[in-house]
């Protein structure tokens, strides 16, 4: 068995600050791939910002905001092969947009309409998980099952810092290591579980240190740096595909939006810190990086934004044009072969 070293504590970064910290680059990412990442982030950002507006207009229900998490989501999802499966938490509700899902589908989910359901096999994306960490074992089971079948598909599972306190995270991580499951455990460490700060969640200095206890590598990466996330995920996937099992990736960011639209974070967060973090948010950092590199122009940026806005506009229109759900849906799919008394109530 390969030796597992203590987790890396240095936070990996690729994107510089245009000042003292120099820009790096990721091998194998050409200009087109760099712009794909940019467009993916813009699409997610636009989805998120429009959703908050739609919520304020009463057009979607309570919504889990992911503003500032786009680098973690796009950087990791674009590192996957098409065959790889994604296991999202509710924070990654719109991750399907990066695999061809329409905004209409995701918006419908947040509108409480069953048109928001999808076939996981069609997108290789499991259903959105609402409880915390209970989907970690699903991703592990999927990856383990694929390995047993001799397939090369891996799994990527997203969860937050609070999820590492859950038993399901522990059981899933342990199973992953024992079964050498080709899975990437991606912890979106945004420092908050609703109002509970990381310092009240754990006495561990670094969440990545938990990895060594399971016998798997742990790495820490700047979650505001899409290229660093992409690179760390790619390395973890290469390791998984080579048969070496799971990796724990701790992506550090700071949640500078409410947990959900129903949350009032002014009761608990540090407004000055939020202000600073917002100035350093991930899309702006990547935008400036690409411009320093000469890859991004005003025209391309505008085009990405316009395209995303257009998709949202038609997405919400399509979602709102759907007829009310057929009451039959309540009964239609709970069982393949339902009990005869299903409709007695």
């Amino acid at each position: 068995m390969a030796q597992v070293l203590p987790a890396e504590h240095d936070v990996r970064r690729i994107i510089g600050d245009g000042d003292g910290v120099a820009d790096g680059e990721v091998e194998g990412l050409d200009d087109a791939a760099l712009l794909d990442l940019y467009r993916a982030m813009v699409l997610l950002r636009t989805y998120d910002e429009r959703s908050v507006v739609y919520h304020s207009q009463g057009r979607v229900g309570t919504y889990a905001i992911f503003w500032g998490h786009e680098a973690i989501q796009a950087g990791s999802a674009l590192a996957l092969a098409d065959e790889d499966w994604i296991f999202p938490s509710y924070r990654e509700s719109a991750i399907g947009l990066l695999r061809g899902m329409t905004p209409e589908t995701v918006l419908s989910w947040w509108r409480g309409h069953p048109a928001g359901w999808w076939n996981p096999r069609e997108f290789r994306i499991a259903s959105i998980t609402v409880p915390i960490a209970t989907h970690v074992p699903h991703a592990v089971g999927y990856a383990w099952g694929a390995r047993l079948k001799g397939e090369s598909a891996c799994a990527l599972v997203y969860f937050g810092d609070g999820a590492t306190s859950e038993g399901a995270f522990h059981e899933g991580a342990n199973f992953a290591a024992v079964m050498r499951a080709p899975v990437v455990l991606l912890c979106n460490n945004n420092q908050w579980a609703i109002s509970t700060p990381l310092s009240a969640q754990t006495r561990a200095e670094f969440l990545a240190d938990k990895a060594a206890g399971y016998g798997m590598p742990g790495v820490r990466v700047d979650g505001g740096d899409v290229l660093a996330v992409y690179q760390a995920t790619s390395e973890a996937l290469a390791r998984a595909r080579a048969g070496h099992g799971p990796t724990f990736v701790e992506a550090l960011t700071y949640r500078c939006a409410p947990h959900v639209t129903a949350d009032d974070p002014t009761a608990y967060w540090d407004a000055q810190r939020v202000e600073r973090e917002r100035e350093n948010e991930c899309l702006g950092r990547y935008d400036r990086y690409l411009r320093r590199l000469g890859v991004l122009s005003d025209e391309l940026a505008e085009d990405a934004r316009d395209d995303a806005l257009e998709r949202m506009k038609s997405g919400i229109a399509a979602a709102e044009a759907l007829p009310p759900p057929d009451p039959e849906v309540v009964f239609a799919s709970a069982y393949v072969d339902p009990p005869p008394t299903l409709r007695e109530g």
């Binding site: 074992p137 383990w144 342990n174 024992v178 079964m179 709970a334």
Partner: protein
């Protein structure tokens, strides 16, 4: 036909089904090298390999949680919970995911997984080895539940559960694991879910039970002067109401027996079904004989808790004398 114990019938079903379908895998604590603490999975690891008979880490939620993912990858997992009382951590996965996952894909995905576990008391085991938690399972939408009372049904219901496209929990009365023996068909044997069994025909009163309590009812029937019919429910969900109500219509009297604690047990559901749909057939109240609303006692006192044939017979006389 061969005479087998109930646990050997379970083992037989697993061998036959795994031979028939290479996507079936058995997973659980000590199921591989040891062959299970009750020997239900003995021989599977040698026959089908360690990848299809998997000794898992000691983590019941992890077993069922990874089984969800295994099903997504195309496997048909058969999860063993070592004892019913150790199964409680898996209720998290069962309630939050197993019972609702197909529904929330709009029917696009199936989760054909089976959970099997020993259940019930009467074997003088340590604390938290003798519960009867079927109500937790049967109350979960999207999940089916079967409890056999004979070796042949243990084989046939487990085979039906494994083949069923929905998640099924099979609870095996551990007091019946080694005795009595019974005739068990060789090779493939399926007892369809949702069909109760008349374990004994009678005319004056219906004794309704499942699992080990079927035998208690059969003994009680011998103690009565009146003619008692015994209905073995076999599948709690889907419930065979036709057989249940047909028997009650014939006898006009019903005693419902469960080993589990009284309050909100599955017996209450059976009583409610009879009351709603057959009250005009009844000549007296429906009476329950159950465990008590206390923790299952230590084994030196378990005979004070588990319903006996005398208690069932006394309840039947009460209804007959009404």
């Amino acid at each position: 036909m061969a005479e087998k114990t109930l646990v050997d019938a379970v083992n037989d079903a697993l061998h036959v089904e795994m031979e028939r379908d290479a996507t079936i895998m058995v997973m659980g604590e000590d199921v591989g090298r040891a062959g299970g603490v009750f020997r239900a999975t003995a021989g599977l690891r040698d026959r089908f390999g360690a990848d299809r008979c998997v000794d898992t880490p000691l983590a019941e939620a992890g077993i069922l949680g990874t089984a969800v993912g295994l099903a997504m990858a195309g496997w048909r997992p058969v999860c063993e919970m070592q004892y019913e009382s150790f199964s409680y951590p898996c209720l998290d996965q069962l309630i939050t995911h197993v019972g609702r996952y197909r529904w929330r894909t709009g029917g696009a995905m199936e989760f054909p997984l089976t959970i099997r576990m020993p259940t019930g008391g009467g074997v003088r085991a340590p604390e938290l080895h003798e519960d009867s938690p079927e109500a937790y399972y049967v109350h979960t939408p999207g999940v089916k539940v079967a409890i056999p009372s004979t070796p042949a049904d243990a084989k046939g219901l487990l085979a039906a559960a494994i083949r069923d496209p929905d998640p099924v929990v099979v609870m095996e009365p551990k007091v019946l694991y080694r005795s009595p023996r019974g005739e068990v068909p060789e090779g493939e044997h399926v007892v369809p879910l949702g069909r109760a069994r008349i374990a004994r025909e009678g005319a004056d009163v219906t004794l309704v039970a499942y699992g080990a309590m079927v035998h208690t009812c059969l003994e009680a029937a011998e103690l009565l002067d009146a003619s008692a019919e015994v209905v073995d429910i076999r599948t709690l969900k889907p419930l065979d109401e036709e057989t249940l109500l047909g028997s009650v219509a014939k006898t006009g009297r019903a005693v419902v027996v469960q080993e589990a604690p009284r309050v909100a047990g599955f017996g209450a559901e059976l009583v409610a079904v009879i009351a709603e749909k057959a009250i005009l057939d009844l000549q007296g109240p429906i009476v329950r004989v159950t465990g008590y609303d206390v923790p299952f006692p230590y084994w030196s006192l378990e005979h004070e808790y588990v319903p006996t044939s005398e208690r069932v017979a006394a309840a039947a006389r009460k209804v007959l004398d009404y």
